[in-house]
Symmetry: C2
Subunit: 720 residues, 2 copies
């Protein structure tokens, strides 16, 4: 009775073509969902399935094991990130019981695109296999690994090793069957060729000749093409990669308050005024122009100059106190212009190669229309007031936070999504999100997934200056770029360690750092007291350490450095609370960093090594006031070596200890370093080289390394 | 219209008490399966679900994030291992958006036992939380983590910080609501107490008095007990721990060929003869007595002495060539005795505290009954012969491997399981499995899961001398212990590195190393040429490095060291192919290591530090012929420090560089080291101490460290 059952099962099992390692019955595995609908309410929610209970696959004859697939975030919970044209290198531990040979393929596809494409994986050492695919389109790709015990490969391996004629003869008869079976899987000419070869293996020809037929490369190629995959096993997870456009990886941000853009002192700037600034910003080499919120500013509890609580009638308030009678997050402050003006500016900026980035701050002034329309989106206290934003004893009286624990959260999420959609319709696709870590992570994951579904080139920069795991969660769930701790890393040791963490750590699969030396909230002590050398070195480092960086200008070019009070990082007379007129002549004058910034951005544009974070390496210098690091392209065609004097007061000098292998430099040959900041050339040799930097002249070297071309006659001939 | 819908959904959502981070509809999450049924055939098998697609939880107000839960193997795919009485320390990254306070509990239960038990987790640093539970029963436990944003905790925190009376007054009114709501979740006296306290918070008493009532510890305790968990979030995986009995962690194995046990030279040993050896084996301190296969031995292609192909009529063959007319894997070689005799021996051994371990070798002699009964379980070649075991050009003519790709694999798996079950019925519960890596991993995972379901104290030792990832997979899928590379690690650097890997590496959660200096297959070059000092040092290291170790005796005690030929690790006149009589007087004589082994095993039994692998640390010695390592119990009550001279020929001496912190030794105080092998005592101080070992006297120190008791009068007073 039992045996009969087993026999029946056999037939069914044999029909299954490709199954997964731990597949469940069809009813329990929904098809691959690509869209990310807002979560639906459910009446009964079961406990999570205990994944650790061992369950053998549905066909015990699938003997391949696939584990340790990388890259992989949190067991496949999150997608890794790449940009268009990148290569995704996938590795896996693949093995089977016994000594049989395996074949292994990397499978990939655009999410929702149906059939897998595949590429063979190569065995490295120690059961590790590797393959790669290139992501050519924006959007979401999926990848996984499939492997099978390859009877033909094992057979071919043994055929080459048998020593006795008897063994060879039997092996050829086994091979006949394998090749004959493959001919039945093949079509057309291949099928005929294989069928003929099967017969030849057991034909009349001499044994050694037939052995060579069995070992023939053409046969191996066709047997791979028509391999028996009936017992192939697919890895039990499908992993994902989100592909962004290049600007998500490589971008130069310029933050500016539009209301300060007027050419007339004391007059409120407009979007039209901003257009006049575009050539200047483009000439400096920036490609993202980011505005603080441009919406109507609340009048209730409006802040006065320097964050005072006693504003005068003409005080303009903080742009982050969003919303007033004129409208909220989808409206424009009338003083700046109309929606039409804004669209015109976005269009003009694009002509200069510049994306306008919006600041999305999900909070409301007390007179924001939401407060009246959706009182249940806010947390009301027993005394009938709203619990405004606070970090006891600090209070933000001009800002009400949303209450994300409202029972009406679905409507709130929908409305927030519609804010992003509204501005996308106006031509914006880059969003700097204010304090995303004070809004639910689940909302961001859903929202960013939804937005990127329809706008795959959307870019989200997370302004979360908070604890590392919180910042990393935001990056994992979808934020394209992240602010960092860069502004507060000062010593060579701190900077080198942090740089190594963000460029070489496991977070690099999803966390794209964006280094800012200043922001309207952050005027560091270093900038307050370091003078021009510090402004220059912090700029050079931000621009060469990470592929994305930004400055808050024109405060930066003009080296504004006076804090509102001792020990504060707030600017005196901060633009957050008032208009700031800047003199055009000063901006273009000798005390402006405009030209220097333009030079640094040109260097970034011309050197692909500076356009990615992955090829970074810190090198030792025997002077702790100096920092040395390099960035190289994967092919080492472009090698940049930066040396910075962190001391803004005195000349510092020292000897490098270069990791020549990382630089692709032959230790036996001299190499030329060409300082892209000053034009100077030096001929270096080996790891130890002398460097000296006077911060008042130039606090950094940004060397391009040119390899020696091995012409014996002329030592000065270098490539590139 | 839309708003109406949202409002309806709200109500349903509010009813859900505890949901998971990424729960699916009820129909797609089968209840936690504890049994591990043989996989069923399925007609259509879907692709694996792309886990990486972001899906927000079913209630967007569940704001806790739980990630990075450890210990966790392969995303929860496999269970970690512990033994009865162990503590499982669980950590997780737990955080939420914003600044609200969290509460977090570790949940655990016997698998299938229904309700969770729970224990609070403590916040460490950097959003890391920790908790622990003790596993008291054999079998499988499950654990996971649940966290929630704790409104009362946040409120209490703020209440302590408000400075203005107005703020305190409003806060107390908020607190009234929170406490009142808790009183409704509470029962009996607690409910009344909380209701009263709620009223007191807004009562007539002075403000500061009422603030103190709000900050009161009793209130906090009750509010924790009746916390609002309606928006609690459970981690999206349930993790598992397999709990074995102590012998899985701490065991001393003795391998012996029963057929060599006769007291009469040339006579085939029996189980009755083996019983006579039990007192001797017990006196040496072993608790697992492991026999090579005890089944009928095939007659077809039987191997002769020294693995020859020309046996004589009285050659006994290899016990691993299992099966003959008398029966197969469930039968006993008649020369050894009957099944009744075997059970008697198992019973007798238990009286000596010894478990008999079976050798399960899943392979057949050509005349095994399976070959005729189940021809489809073997791989037949076109010439009508069976493809016998081979590793070209090597052939094992007396052994047919199973063909696990047979369409009849379900019946084969069932039969193999029944072999284990049969011997369990005879009183065996420890299995040493021969070459498990040449049988499907999926079968082992299913089989071990099944067996341990009914016999939770079953122990499986994997004899897989193969590549690291294969060995680790076997351990992850369920093997209780694993053979290792120990036999081939010779230098101090090699041994220290390997020891650190097996004791400190991530594998320690599931891979329990069992160190063997020799086996019937492994007579290392070191033992062949190192003489008595080498036999002693290899024994001491095996016995003190890992909590489980074993020797193949009496070859070890007698220091048998002659290989069959130069460059081979095979014993001359190996018991694998013939009987070997050992003289009783020699076994108990001065050239036997019996007493030394007994001493070492006594040291193991008396020192808990040697009964676990986790507390190991390698220390530096400035002589590369010497190795120094320590093992400590978690409470540091038992500290063992081992120093070995690896040079079997010459005295070696050197200075230690002890990691005193790992030893729990005060660097300012002297400490006593007591050599448990020789009885010698030394007074040491600080990290640098002189050691000298003459290998011909004693090649190792096994020190117990006794801490100074801080009595000023008597420096020689030590504890323990």
């Amino acid at each position: 009775m039992k045996k009969k059952l087993v026999a029946d099962e056999k037939k069914k099992v044999a029909d299954v073509a490709a199954v997964t390692q731990h597949a469940q019955p069809a009813s329990s595995s929904p098809p691959a969902a690509v869209s990310t609908p807002m979560p639906e309410p459910v009446a009964v929610v079961p406990e999570p399935e205990p994944v650790a209970v061992p369950v053998a696959g549905p066909d015990g004859r699938r003997r391949a094991i696939i584990e340790g697939v990388t890259p992989q975030l949190d067991g496949g919970r999150f997608a890794i990130k790449r940009t268009v044209g990148d290569t995704v290198t996938v590795e896996a531990d693949v093995f089977t019981d016994g000594h049989d040979a395996l074949s292994c393929v990397l499978q990939y596809r655009k999410a929702g695109a149906g059939d897998w494409q595949e590429t063979p994986m190569r065995a490295l050492v120690n059961d590790r296999w590797q393959g790669e695919f290139v992501v050519l389109d924006l959007g979401r790709y999926e990848y996984t690994v499939t492997a099978w015990v390859d009877a033909f490969k094992s057979w071919r391996h043994d055929l080459g090793r048998w020593v006795q004629a008897e063994d060879v003869a039997i092996a050829l008869r086994v091979g006949e069957k394998l090749v004959e079976q493959a001919s039945q899987r093949a079509t057309g000419g291949d099928a005929q060729w294989l069928a003929r070869r099967a017969q030849e293996l057991v034909g009349q020809k001499e044994l050694e000749y037939r052995r060579r037929l069995g070992l023939d490369e053409d046969l191996a190629r066709l047997m791979t093409l028509y391999a028996d995959r009936s017992l192939a096993l697919q890895y039990d997870r499908i992993l994902a990669v989100v592909v962004d456009d290049e600007r998500a990886r490589f971008s130069s941000w310029y933050e500016m308050f539009p209301r300060s853009c007027s050419a007339v002192p004391g007059q409120h700037g407009t979007f039209r005024d901003c257009e006049a600034w575009l050539p200047r910003i483009a000439a400096m080499g920036f490609d993202v122009l980011y505005f603080p919120p441009i919406h109507p500013i609340g009048r209730v509890n409006r802040k006065g100059k320097n964050n005072t609580l006693t504003p005068t009638a003409d005080d303009v308030g903080s742009p982050w106190a969003i919303g007033a009678a004129e409208g909220g997050h989808k409206a424009i402050l009338p003083e700046l212009g109309t929606l039409e003006d804004f669209r015109h500016l976005v269009h003009k900026a694009k002509e200069h190669g510049i994306d306008i980035a919006m600041d999305i701050a999900l909070q409301c002034a007390p007179d924001h229309p939401y407060v009246e329309q959706h009182p249940d989106w806010f947390r009301w206290r027993p005394d009938g007031t709203v619990q405004y934003a606070e970090n006891p004893p600090k209070k933000y009286q001009d800002i009400y936070p949303f209450n994300f624990e409202t029972a009406d959260w679905r409507a709130l999420w929908d409305e927030i999504k519609s804010i992003f959609e509204f501005w996308i319709q106006q031509g914006v696709r880059i969003f700097r999100v204010d304090n995303p870590h004070t809004k639910p992570f689940a909302m961001w994951e859903w929202l960013i997934g939804e937005i990127k579904q329809s706008t795959p080139n959307a870019i989200f920069l997370a302004e979360a200056f908070t604890r590392p795991k919180v910042m990393h969660r935001l990056a994992k769930l979808g934020y394209s770029q992240s602010y960092t701790y860069y502004a507060w890393r000062n010593t060579a040791a701190e900077l080198g360690e942090y740089l190594t963490e963000v460029c070489q750590g496991p977070g690099r699969e999803y966390f794209r750092p964006n280094f800012w030396p200043n922001t309207p909230d952050i005027l560091t002590e270093a900038l307050q007291f370091g003078g021009r050398p510090m402004f220059m070195s912090r700029l050079v480092m931000a621009a060469t350490m990470t592929a994305s960086y930004g400055i808050y200008g024109p405060a930066y070019e003009l080296m504004e450095h006076v804090a509102v009070k001792h020990g504060s990082e707030e600017y005196l007379d901060s633009e957050k609370y008032q208009l700031r007129y800047r003199d055009r002549q000063e901006l273009d004058g000798p005390n402006s960093l405009c030209d220097f910034i333009a030079l640094v951005n040109r260097i970034r544009k011309r050197n692909p090594a500076l356009q990615s974070d992955w090829g970074m390496r810190v090198h030792q210098v025997d002077n702790e006031q100096m920092l040395c690091y390099s960035k190289v392209t994967p092919d080492r065609a472009n090698v940049i070596l930066v040396v910075v004097n962190l001391d803004p007061h005195y000349t510092q000098a020292g000897w490098t200890h270069l990791d020549l292998e990382a630089l692709g430099v032959d230790p036996q040959q001299p190499f030329q370093v060409h300082d892209l900041l000053t034009g100077a050339h030096y001929l270096w040799h080996g790891p130890r080289n002398y460097v000296e930097l006077n911060p008042h002249r130039m606090p950094a070297h940004v060397f391009r390394i040119r390899h020696h071309l091995h012409t014996e006659r002329d030592f000065a001939t270098f490539e590139g």
